[in-house]
């Protein structure tokens, strides 16, 4: 890692040599102090107000303000409420939650207890993607330590507050990162997104009021409590994009990896300063700013700031923080096909436009890449994309068309060239062999 220019918050502990993520190590760095400061001393509503004041927004992809989300829970409801930690990190290009769970599990657990206390959830579930077996084992081990020390479970530290945490493994389905699909999956069903409204805030897990928050979102909470909402709100691009983000840099850079920087640094700084620049001689051709669901951007966008509003204004989205870099020479049609194959594989099948459309899109894209495309294929692609986006129960429909729509917009000539090659080959084939020169 380069010399640390910015203060690390979430990755701070694990960047210390010898830090194992054990309870003893976490306590030594001031761990569980936020919990001691709050539980039984500060009313839950005040914790929610603090989080609202910090400006913290969801780190999973949608960027919804966390405190506002908590505020949607019915105030007068006396029954059971649930908190689910969305640890189903599956957005291609994103690998930060895995590191947060494997390297500093107690930071997440403390955040979950704080959130559970704030919203009045005594049972909380960490829905971790099934493939992350190591992460789930580490979390179980950390939970055993935390329960024994009285930080998790019944009557935490003698305050009379109950917040228990259970680790629940998914079983391989991208769609379960969508919050209502996650709830269905946690209920033992197929992970099909629910029609909204009603929203999870009123009808969530087992039809009870539920909050679903991402790992990175929850891991921020102990720091906001310890250092105050004003401190947090002063980092990044206030007022709308506060705090740091862990950006996951992958692809053709010298040092791929996770980089925690204040929101608002430019892509140029992230790619060339933090991640060491391009891996070889070839210059940058394209980058994806926020996971596979975010439209591609071009070198013209290098000075766009990494905050929610700026990336949206550039025609893409900050999404999950997965930044993928592609060098000159990478075929954009091929890259879009690779992502389209992902979406085709992961479409849950609930809505016809997405289920049928993804199959049609992938077939058309494969044909073009194999130089067997037809002149009308580009129109077919645009038509399909327009008829999928916005016509499905969840945001998957909008996500799956992003790679094709954005590459068609910026690199249309690459599609055209592949189709021309196919047409030229067909033309030659149509001439009788004897007549060819």
């Amino acid at each position: 890692m380069a010399a640390q220019k910015y203060e690390l918050i979430l990755l701070k502990n694990m960047s210390q040599p010898g830090y194992t993520g054990s309870l003893a190590d976490y306590e030594q760095t001031g761990g569980y102090q936020a919990l001691r400061k709050i539980l039984g001393k500060v009313p839950p509503a005040e914790v929610t107000a603090t989080v609202m004041k910090s400006g913290l927004r969801g780190r999973g992809g949608a960027g919804f303000p966390t405190g506002v989300k908590w505020g949607f829970l019915p105030k007068d409801y006396q029954g059971t409420r649930y908190l689910c930690c969305n640890a189903d990190e599956s957005e291609p290009g994103t690998f930060k939650d895995r590191q947060l769970m494997e390297r500093d599990p107690h930071q997440l657990l403390e955040g979950i207890v704080l959130a559970g206390y704030a919203i009045g959830a005594e049972s909380t579930y960490i829905y971790i993607r099934g493939e992350m077996v190591l992460g789930s084992r580490i979390l179980e081990q950390a939970l055993a330590e935390a329960r024994k020390a009285g930080y998790v479970g019944k009557n935490i530290l003698g305050t009379g507050v109950h917040v228990d945490i259970w680790v629940h493994r998914g079983a391989g389905a991208y769609i379960c990162g969508e919050e209502t699909a996650l709830l269905e999956s946690l209920e033992g069903k197929r992970g099909l997104p629910r029609v909204k409204p009603p929203f999870p805030a009123t009808h969530g897990l087992y039809d009870k009021p539920t909050v679903v928050n991402n790992v990175e979102t929850l891991a921020n909470l102990p720091h906001i409590i310890n250092r105050g909402p004003e401190w947090f709100a002063s980092i990044g691009s206030p007022p709308k994009s506060t705090g740091t983000r862990i950006f996951c840099v992958s692809g053709h850079v010298k040092r791929p990896g996770n980089y925690e920087v204040p929101m608002g640094v430019t892509f140029r700084e992230l790619i060339y300063d933090q991640a060491g620049g391009m891996r070889g001689e070839k210059p940058l051709k394209a980058f994806i700013p926020g996971g596979a669901s975010a439209p591609f951007l071009t070198p013209e966008h290098l000075d766009v700031k990494l905050d929610f509003e700026s990336v949206a204004a550039a025609g893409s989205m900050l999404g999950s923080g997965g930044v993928t870099i592609m060098e000159e020479g990478t075929s954009m049609v091929w890259a879009a096909l690779r992502l389209m194959e992902f979406f085709y594989h992961e479409s849950c099948g609930k809505c016809s436009p997405c289920r049928e459309g993804s199959s049609w899109l992938v077939q058309t894209m494969r044909r073009i890449v194999a130089k067997q495309g037809r002149a009308q294929d580009l129109e077919t692609l645009s038509d399909l994309c327009k008829n999928i986006a916005g016509r499905t129960v969840c945001a998957f429909g909008d996500a799956e068309v992003a790679p094709i729509m954005s590459t068609l917009k910026h690199w249309r000539q690459e599609y055209v060239a592949l189709i021309h090659e196919a047409e030229a080959a067909n033309l030659i084939k149509s001439i009788p062999v004897g007549a060819r020169h």
Binding site: R98, G191, G251
Partner: protein
């Protein structure tokens, strides 16, 4: 095989975690899969009985998730990530090596039943690609030499020290991916 007898304590622990029984379905299917590497029809019927579900309800869930195997797989299930992020840094080459070394293509199992090869979508290790998962373990930043060592290790000892982690356990404290 009777899961209820063999895994009495595990099943009790799983059921105690959820206020609604059906939530225990995926954890119980994992338990069943532990037996033979795949989930048998008998196991699904038994689990349906435990959770007061119908067998089709169990089957409906089991068929949705890629990690639940309803068919036999090799002793070592090699899953190579083929999504764009890994493809940019050479996952197609890794799949090529594996094809040559094992003599099978994606979706196939070696004749001795040792290895099944699958090309899969993103496994959330894009910064350390190309990568693969073998059974529970991740193997990252793959090179041909590393792949050779991993396969040799698996053949001789059933596991390989080339895997990622563990991080919290004292013996490998502070190790970095």
């Amino acid at each position: 095989m009777n899961l209820a007898e063999k895994y009495k304590d595990e099943i009790a622990d799983i059921l105690s975690r959820y206020p609604v029984r059906r939530s225990a379905l995926i954890p119980l299917l994992y338990l069943a899969q532990q037996e033979n590497g795949f989930i048998t029809e008998g196991a699904m019927i038994e689990i349906a009985g435990m959770l007061k579900l119908t067998p089709p309800q169990v089957y409906e869930t089991a068929t949705f998730y890629t990690m639940l195997n309803l068919k036999k797989v090799g002793k070592f299930h090699i899953q190579i990530c083929k999504s764009l992020m890994c493809a940019l840094v050479g996952s197609d080459t890794v799949i090529g090596w594996m094809k040559t070394k094992l003599g099978i293509g994606p979706g196939e199992t070696t004749a001795d039943g040792l290895f099944t090869l699958t090309a899969v979508e993103c496994l959330a290790a894009c910064g350390t690609g190309p990568m693969m998962q073998i059974n529970d373990d991740y193997y990252e930043r793959l090179t041909e030499e590393k792949v050779d060592r991993i396969l040799a290790d698996l053949r001789t000892t059933g596991t390989s020290s080339m895997k990622s982690g563990p991080f919290m356990w004292p013996d490998r404290a502070g190790a970095r991916v």
